[in-house]
Each structure stands twice: as structure tokens, then as C-alpha cells.
């Protein structure tokens, strides 16, 4: 089973990037792949990964790079840089949630994480143009990659 998990908050500007990518992939794909939109509750994220052979996660990040910059990480191989995915002091972020899944032996064998660099996270704002364009490009590329994986190529 393949899973694509978009993480974010649709009401917080560029933080919606992961959700926009998930919606874009869902619109392009037919069957075989579960597309999940998540608010980054660690429990939900662990459950969303549970039993998957491979999972792709997309989230907005804030590293100081130009808006729309794409970061790619192999989370099955090593831990994500925690600071990059930390969005709240209130709860665990994507990096901690994946480490929790790894510690519990519940991490899929293959986990690829994409981070889209955001620039504005104010409540009620739309995606910034550079982030919207990057999300659209990533949705297209991921659709092709996931379809190929689902077909066993």
C-alpha cells in the first residue's frame, strides 16, 4: 500500500502547501494510493503511515531559503532535521512524529519527505505565488512517481 500524506493548516497561508499538493495528487491519480490530509497530530501521522510499504509526506518548512524551494529527505534512512519541521511548541512536528513511529517500529520501509519552503504563515492568507507554483509542480511530479510505483515500475 502506498500513501501520500499532505500535512498542514489550510487557514495559515503557506502552511497549506502540503494539503494543496495532496489535493493535486488526488485529482491526478486513480486508485492504489491513499491520499491523506493531516493536521500533524502525531497519532494521526503514525496511523496514516501504519502498514504502508511506502509513504510520501509533504509539509511546509521554514529554513530561510527562497520561497518555493523544494527540500527532499529520505526519512527511512535517517532522522529529519528537527528544526526545519517544527511548527508549534504545542505538539510534536513531522520530524518528531516520524521518530516516534521509528522508535515504535511503525515506520514504513520507505519514507520520502518533501518540504516546501514557505514565506508567509499569517491566518487567512492564500499560498504565496512561489509556493503555489512549487506545490503545483510537486503535485505533478509526485503523481508520476507514485503512479510508476503503484504499477511496479
Amino acid at each position: 500500500m502506498l500513501r501520500l500524506i499532505g500535512v498542514g493548516n489550510r487557514w495559515r497561508g503557506d502552511d497549506a502547501a502540503g494539503l494543496v499538493v495532496a489535493a493535486g495528487v488526488r485529482a491526478r491519480l486513480r486508485g492504489g494510493i491513499a491520499v491523506i490530509e493531516d493536521r500533524c497530530e502525531p497519532l494521526e501521522l503514525i496511523e496514516a503511515c501504519e502498514g504502508a510499504q511506502a509513504a510520501w509526506l509533504v509539509d511546509a518548512v521554514c529554513s530561510g531559503a527562497p520561497p518555493g524551494t523544494l527540500h527532499r529527505f529520505d526519512a527511512a534512512e535517517r532522522a529529519l532535521p528537527a528544526g526545519l519541521f517544527r511548527v508549534s511548541t504545542h505538539r510534536l512536528g513531522v520530524a518528531d512524529a516520524l521518530e516516534l513511529a521509528r522508535a515504535l517500529g511503525r515506520l514504513p520501509p520507505r519514507v520520502v519527505v518533501y518540504g516546501i519552503e514557505g514565506s508567509r504563515f499569517a491566518p487567512g492568507r492564500p499560498l504565496s505565488p512561489a509556493v503555489a507554483a512549487a506545490a503545483e509542480r510537486l503535485a505533478g511530479a509526485l503523481s508520476t512517481e507514485l503512479a510508476a510505483c503503484a504499477a511496479g515500475r
Binding site: 493536521r39 497530530e41 497519532l43 503514525i46 511548541t89 504545542h90 505538539r91 510534536l92 518528531d96 521518530e99 516516534l100 522508535a103 515504535l104 517500529g105
Partner: protein, 432 residues
């Protein structure tokens, strides 16, 4: 003459608490001269922007104050509005609300006991580090939290910021068959909660007792959750309407959260220790037995043992949720009609962290004219600072790093919800 040394221990961002805050302790020549719990998360102005809104909207607006305890806000708001309008919601509608509140207690206590506080006692920096050594504890914690989340989803409409409560009842009463789907998860949760009582009781606790007035709701025959009079360990017994004449909030320069005291002076404490002390007899027999089996007696005066009390409350909340589900009959209507009338209403319920008080003034059309919200963390700030002082004074010989960790653990005894309190954690210890 001993050498004069000043030392400051500070933590700029407190971890494993809800929200953003810091703390600072100043030690001069072996004496603690200053303790400040700084809640710097910005003020949120909820009370101001409730003005002009309809009386039916307060519960959903105030639930946005907290993602961990939204039901507490909904319940205090809805209780205030209903009492203002001369309506009391009873029978199965009240049972549904209490079930929903049990769901919040379960998910909130499970998060705090296992993921935020247990790492302190087991010597880990985080729940993730703890999970590597103790995967079963974390797996159990996640199952327990999930059982609470499911109650929130089925009864409240969704897990975070539920949307099913309304003035007069609920928007939609769940079918019996829907509640039946919760039973298996809750039965497993009850076993996990009983295990949590045994686990937490086996921790090493610093030797520290506090002498402070314990304040909680009380209602004959019921563990305090959704209603009751406000009572205390020193004889206070008042209706929620009298709250503001007996308790006073004041601003301190180092915190965005108001400090609460008894009118005329005197510190007090709200939360699990207070509820356990004043309503032990109202716990379910299983919860009382679980406490007795580990030697926990009411009143418990060591704040570090609050983690065991929370675990006992977990047993209670799961147990009561199962009882409520077993006794549930679908109500004829999901709500009773409530007409607004001009006046002032008061609502007090027990958030997982303690007493949450709301007051609203509305006009004859139901427009909110004024609002006052006193969250539990704000009420516990003085007690937290007093404990920090007491704990540091007993532990001056510890190296700074250990002292800092002990201070953070002390703060976490209160499961502080800083987001709720701002209108808080970094740790700073200064030794002189």
C-alpha cells in the same frame, strides 16, 4: 562570612508544556530571592472580541482558546448562557455532554501523563527518547489518547475543536449504535489507565509537600466535571455566581497571564490534586481501588504525585464514559429551545487542568455585552511560583543543569496550558 554569590537559572523556552513561556529563579547567598513564571505567549483578547457576538456563539468562539481542552471552554460557556436564560440541561443531553467531557479528560490526561510528564520521572528528554527504551508505554499512551479522541469524534463531531455542543443541548444526538463502537477501545483504555496508576506510583518522587487551599467544584454523588458548587479544603462553599467576590485577578509585570488569589490575600490551587482531595469519595469504585492499591490517599499534598492522581482520574473518566454509554437512551430531541434574556450568567466546569470560570453579560436580544474568562493555569501561577521557590530552596546543592530540570518538572506538575492562560516557558536561575 560566606562568599556572596549570585546565580540565575533560566530556561528561555519551556519544553513539554502547552504554549510558550519561560521561567527565572534568582538565588542570592543560598537564598531564593525571586521566582518568576513568565507567560510571554501574546495576549489573545478573546474577552474583547466576544462583545457584540450572539450568546449562542460564545461556546464555539471560546473553544478556540485551546486545542487540548476545547470542551472545557464550550461547557463553561454553555453553562453560563443556560443559567443566564433560566434553563438547565438534564437527562441524556447532560449525559452526552459529560461523556464528551470524559473524552477530553482522557485525551488530555493521556497526553500529559505519558508524553509530557513521564519522561521527567524516567529520565528522558522527550517522549521520542522514552519511546526508544519503553515502546510499550508510548504505544499504550497512543491507544489511550485514541480512545479519548474517538469519544470526541463520535459525540463531539470531530476530535479537535468539536462542533456538536449548542446552547440548550447538542446539534445532533448520536445513535446508540454509534456509542457502542466506542466500547471496545474504552475497555482497553481502562486496562491501560489501571496500568498507568501502577506505573506512575512506582516513580521516585521528591519529598515536597505544599500547604495551600485546594479549590474545586463539587456535586453530591458525582466526581466534579461539568457542574457543581465551588468548594475548598478550608471550608469555602459558594455558587459559581459568587466566584468574583471571592477570587481576584491581578496583573504582574513579568507575565501576560493574570495572577489569581483569594480576595483579601491567600494562595490557592485548582486541578487534579484539588478534585481528588475534595471529591475522592465520588470516584468510581474501580478508580478508588486503583488509588488505594498504590497507597494514594486524599488529600495528596505532594504536587509531584499529581501524575498518579491524573492516572486515577484517567481510570475514572474511562470508567464513567463506559457507564454513560451503557445507560444511554437516545433523547427525543437533541436540544431544548433557549430564549435569551438580559442579565449576567456564570459557568464553572472542571477542565483537565482545573476550574474554568466564565461570566457573560448579554442584552435582551442575546448580544454579548461583556465577558470574563478565568482559566486554570492562570489560577495556578502563584502556586507554581511558590513550588519553584520551595523546590529550589531544598535543592540548592544541585548543579544548575539538574536544578533546571527539576524546576521544569515542577512546572509540569501543573500541566500548565499557557495558550489558555495568556491573556507562558524559558527557565532562568540566577545565583548571587
Amino acid at each position: 562570612m560566606p562568599e556572596r554569590r549570585t546565580k540565575t537559572i533560566k530556561t528561555d523556552v519551556l519544553a513539554r508544556v502547552e504554549g510558550e513561556g519561560a521561567m527565572r529563579v534568582r538565588i542570592e547567598s543560598g537564598r531564593v530571592t525571586e521566582v518568576q513564571l513568565r507567560i510571554y505567549e501574546p495576549p489573545r483578547f478573546f474577552e474583547a472580541f466576544l462583545r457584540g457576538r450572539d450568546f449562542t456563539e460564545a461556546l464555539d468562539i471560546t473553544s478556540r482558546i485551546c486545542g487540548i481542552c476545547p470542551i472545557a471552554y464550550q461547557m463553561s460557556a454553555v453553562t453560563a448562557m443556560e443559567s443566564l436564560c433560566g434553563v438547565e440541561v438534564g437527562g441524556q443531553l447532560r449525559a452526552l455532554r459529560r461523556l464528551l467531557y470524559c473524552g477530553e479528560w482522557i485525551e488530555s490526561h493521556a497526553l500529559h501523563v505519558f508524553m509530557l510528564h513521564a519522561p521527567d520521572f524516567l529520565g528522558f528528554e522527550s517522549a521520542v527518547a522514552m519511546a526508544r527504551e519503553h515502546p510499550t508505554i508510548v504505544t499504550d499512551a497512543l491507544a489511550l489518547k485514541k480512545a479519548g479522541n474517538e469519544v470526541m469524534r463520535v459525540v463531539g463531531g470531530r476530535e479537535v475543536h468539536p462542533i456538536n455542543v449548542r446552547v440548550g443541548g447538542v446539534h445532533r444526538a448520536p445513535r446508540k449504535a454509534e456509542l457502542a463502537t466506542l466500547v471496545a477501545g474504552l475497555e482497553r483504555a481502562r486496562e491501560i489507565a489501571l496500568g498507568a496508576v501502577r506505573l506512575t506510583a512506582s516513580f521516585d518522587f521528591p519529598d515536597y509537600d505544599q500547604d495551600i487551599e485546594l479549590v474545586a467544584l463539587a456535586q453530591p454523588g458525582e466526581y466534579p466535571i461539568d457542574r457543581g458548587r465551588i468548594i475548598s479544603s478550608t471550608g469555602l462553599d459558594i455558587a459559581p455566581e459568587e466566584y468574583e467576590s471571592r477570587f481576584v485577578e491581578q496583573h504582574v509585570p513579568w507575565s501576560h497571564a493574570l495572577h489569581s488569589q483569594r480576595t483579601g490575600g491567600g494562595n490557592y490551587l485548582v486541578g487534579p490534586l484539588a478534585r481528588f482531595a475534595t471529591s475522592f469519595a465520588a470516584l468510581t469504585p474501580l478508580a478508588r481501588e486503583a488509588a488505594a492499591d498504590v497507597g494514594l490517599r486524599a488529600p495528596e499534598r505532594n504536587p509531584f504525585r499529581s501524575i498518579v492522581v491524573r492516572a486515577v482520574e484517567l481510570v475514572h473518566a474511562v470508567d464513567e464514559a463506559l457507564e454513560l454509554i451503557a445507560a444511554y437512551e437516545e433523547p427525543d430531541a437533541p436540544a431544548i429551545e433557549v430564549e435569551p434574556r438580559a442579565g449576567v450568567g456564570h459557568g464553572a466546569t472542571e477542565a483537565p487542568r482545573g476550574l474554568l470560570y466564565h461570566r457573560y453579560e448579554i442584552d435582551a436580544d442575546g448580544t454579548i455585552l461583556a465577558a470574563n474568562i478565568v482559566p486554570p493555569t492562570s489560577q495556578n501561577q502563584i502556586a507554581i511560583e511558590a513550588d519553584l521557590r520551595g523546590v529550589v530552596e531544598r535543592s540548592l546543592e544541585l548543579p544548575d543543569e539538574q536544578l533546571s530540570r527539576l524546576c521544569e518538572q515542577t512546572i509540569r506538575n501543573y500541566d500548565p496550558c499557557i495558550s489558555c492562560a495568556t491573556h507562558f516557558l524559558t527557565l532562568e536561575v540566577e545565583r548571587c
